[in-house]
Symmetry: C2
Subunit: 291 residues, 2 copies
C-alpha cells in the first residue's frame, strides 16, 4: 500500500496508472506535478490526483513513491531536482520509452542512492495525450518491461512489479540495452516513418487532393503520426544511435525494393510481400506470445 | 437494371459490389468467373453469384455488364479474351487500383470498341481478401473514382456512376494520370513501406523478441502489410514510374530526418512531428472532404 504517490506528468500513461492504483485501493493519496495548470486541473476534476504541486522538490520529501511519467527529455532535470530531497525510504520509478538514457540521468544525479530507482516501460501508448486521455484498465494484458539495476533491492523491484501486475500488465524484466534495441525497431522507427510520411505528403502541391481521396490504409499506417511531438522528439534523441542504425537498415531495404521495381521483378516483389504478410499473420495469431 | 452481370474476380471488392446490386434489385443474375474453384463455391454458397464459369469468353456473349475485379496484372489477358466476344451492347468496367495501365490494356485489345469500357476505382480496400470477405455496404460513404475516356458515351458513364451511387459510394471523376499520381502517394507508397518494414523486422535475429513486445503502433502501421501479395505485385508494377518517384522522395525525406537526428536537432525534429500531427488532424477532422 502506497501512502503518498507523487506523479510527475499527469498524462495518458501516468494518469491511467494513478487511476488503476486508486481504484484498487493501492494508493492513499496522489499529488500531481506538471507544467500545465489546465491539465492538472482536469486531472483533479477527473479524480486522477488529489492535490497538485508546482515543484517536485517541495512534495518529494513526503512521498513513498515517485512516478516519473514525463517526456524522457525532462528526466535529467527531474532526477537533479530529486538528488537533494529524495527520502531514504522513497522508491522512484518511471515509464520512459527509452531506458539507457533515463538510467544514465538517474545515475548521474542520484549517485549512491541509484538503487532507489526501478526503471520501467509500459507498452500501452496511444496517439492521445493529456490527463483527459487517461483511463483505467489501459494496461490490462499489455507488456510492462522492467529493466532493473544491479543496485536495486529485490524487494523494491518486486514492489513495482506488483503495482503493475495490479494494473493487469504482463510484467517482464530485461536488460536496458536490449530494451532500447527492441523498441528502436518495433516502435521508434515506425513512429519516425509515420511522421516522415505525413510530413512529406502534406508538403506536396497535391496534398489537398491526396487527403481528399486517401483511405483507411493511410489512416491506419499514420495513426502514430498523431503522437505527441515533444515526447517523440525526446525519445528520438534519447535512442539516437539505435535509431540511426534502424534508419540505415530500412533505407537499405527500401533501396532493395526500389531495385526490384526498377527491374520489374514481379516474382521477387511478390516474395517480399508474402513474407511480410506471413510474418504479420504469425505475430497477430500469437506465435510470439510469451504467455 | 442489369439483366446479366459477369463478375471476373469474386473477392472482397467484386463480391461486395455484387451483393449490393443484388440486395437493391439492380441485377438479375450474376455469373462469377475466377481461377479458384473453392472461392467460387464459397461465393455461390453466400449468394454473391448465381452461377460460375471457367472461361470469360464463354459467358461474355450473354452479358450486359462485365465487371473486372481481378488483380490489375490479369487485365491485359482479360481484355484480350473479351476482344473477340464482347457484345456491342455490353458495358465493361473495372475496380483496378491503377488506371493508366488498365486503360492501355483495354485500348490495345478492344480497339474501336474502347468506348464500351468505363474505368473505375473504389477506395475501400482492406487487408482481407476472397469471396468470404465480401459484405454489403462496404462502399457506403467511400470515394469511388471514375476515369472516363474520351470515347465513352455520357449515358454509359452515367450507368456505371449510378450503380456505384446505389452502393452508397461518393462518385467523382478525374483524369487517369492524376488518379495514378494521387494513389501512388496515398496508397501504393504506404503499402510498400508497410511490406518493407515487416519483411525487414521479420528477417532480423531478434525478430522473435520484436514481435513479443511490439504494440498497437506497429500493428496499425503495418495493417496494410496483410494485403494480398499478388494484387500488390501487380499494382506496384502497373504504377512503376510514379512509385519509383515516390520512393525517391520518401528516401530523401528520411535522409533529411536522419540528418536532424545525427545533428541532435531537437527543435527541427519537433517541427517535423508537429507538422505531421497537424496535417493528420486536419485530414481526419474533414478539412479535405469534398462534400
Amino acid at each position: 500500500m502506497i501512502r503518498h504517490m507523487v506523479l510527475v506528468g499527469v498524462g495518458l500513461i501516468g494518469g491511467s496508472f494513478a487511476l488503476d492504483l486508486k481504484r484498487q485501493g493501492l494508493v492513499e493519496r496522489v499529488t500531481g506535478v506538471g507544467r500545465t495548470p489546465e491539465n492538472l486541473a482536469t486531472a483533479l476534476q477527473l479524480g486522477i490526483i488529489d492535490a497538485t504541486a508546482d515543484d517536485l522538490g517541495a512534495v518529494a520529501a513526503d512521498a513513498d513513491l515517485i512516478m516519473l511519467a514525463a517526456p524522457v527529455g525532462a528526466m535529467p532535470g527531474l532526477f537533479a531536482r530529486l538528488a537533494t530531497v529524495l527520502p531514504d525510504d522513497c522508491l522512484v520509478t518511471d515509464v520512459g520509452s527509452t531506458k539507457q538514457d533515463v538510467i544514465a540521468a538517474a545515475r548521474a544525479a542520484l549517485g549512491a542512492r541509484i538503487g532507489r530507482f526501478v526503471p520501467g516501460h509500459p507498452i500501452a501508448g496511444a496517439e492521445t495525450s493529456g490527463a483527459a486521455a487517461a483511463r483505467s484498465e489501459l494496461f490490462v494484458d499489455k507488456p510492462l518491461i522492467l529493466t532493473p539495476l544491479a543496485e536495486n533491492q529485490a524487494v523494491d523491484i518486486e514492489t513495482i512489479d506488483q503495482l503493475w501486475q495490479a494494473c493487469g500488465a504482463r510484467v517482464t524484466r530485461m536488460d536496458a540495452a536490449l530494451h532500447d534495441s527492441i523498441f528502436a525497431a518495433v516502435s521508434h522507427l515506425p513512429h519516425l516513418l509515420a511522421f516522415a510520411l505525413m510530413d512529406e505528403l502534406a508538403a506536396r502541391p497535391l496534398s489537398e487532393l491526396y487527403f481528399r481521396y486517401a483511405g483507411a490504409g493511410l489512416r491506419d499506417a499514420t495513426r502514430i503520426a498523431g503522437s505527441h511531438p515533444e515526447m517523440w522528439r525526446d525519445i528520438t534523441l534519447a535512442n539516437r544511435d539505435a535509431l540511426l542504425d534502424e534508419l540505415d537498415a530500412l533505407g537499405e531495404k527500401l533501396r532493395a525494393v526500389r531495385g526490384l521495381i526498377a527491374d520489374r521483378d514481379g516474382r521477387a516483389l511478390e516474395q517480399v510481400f508474402s513474407r511480410a504478410r506471413q510474418a504479420r499473420t504469425d505475430w497477430l495469431q500469437g506465435k510470439y506470445n510469451n504467455d
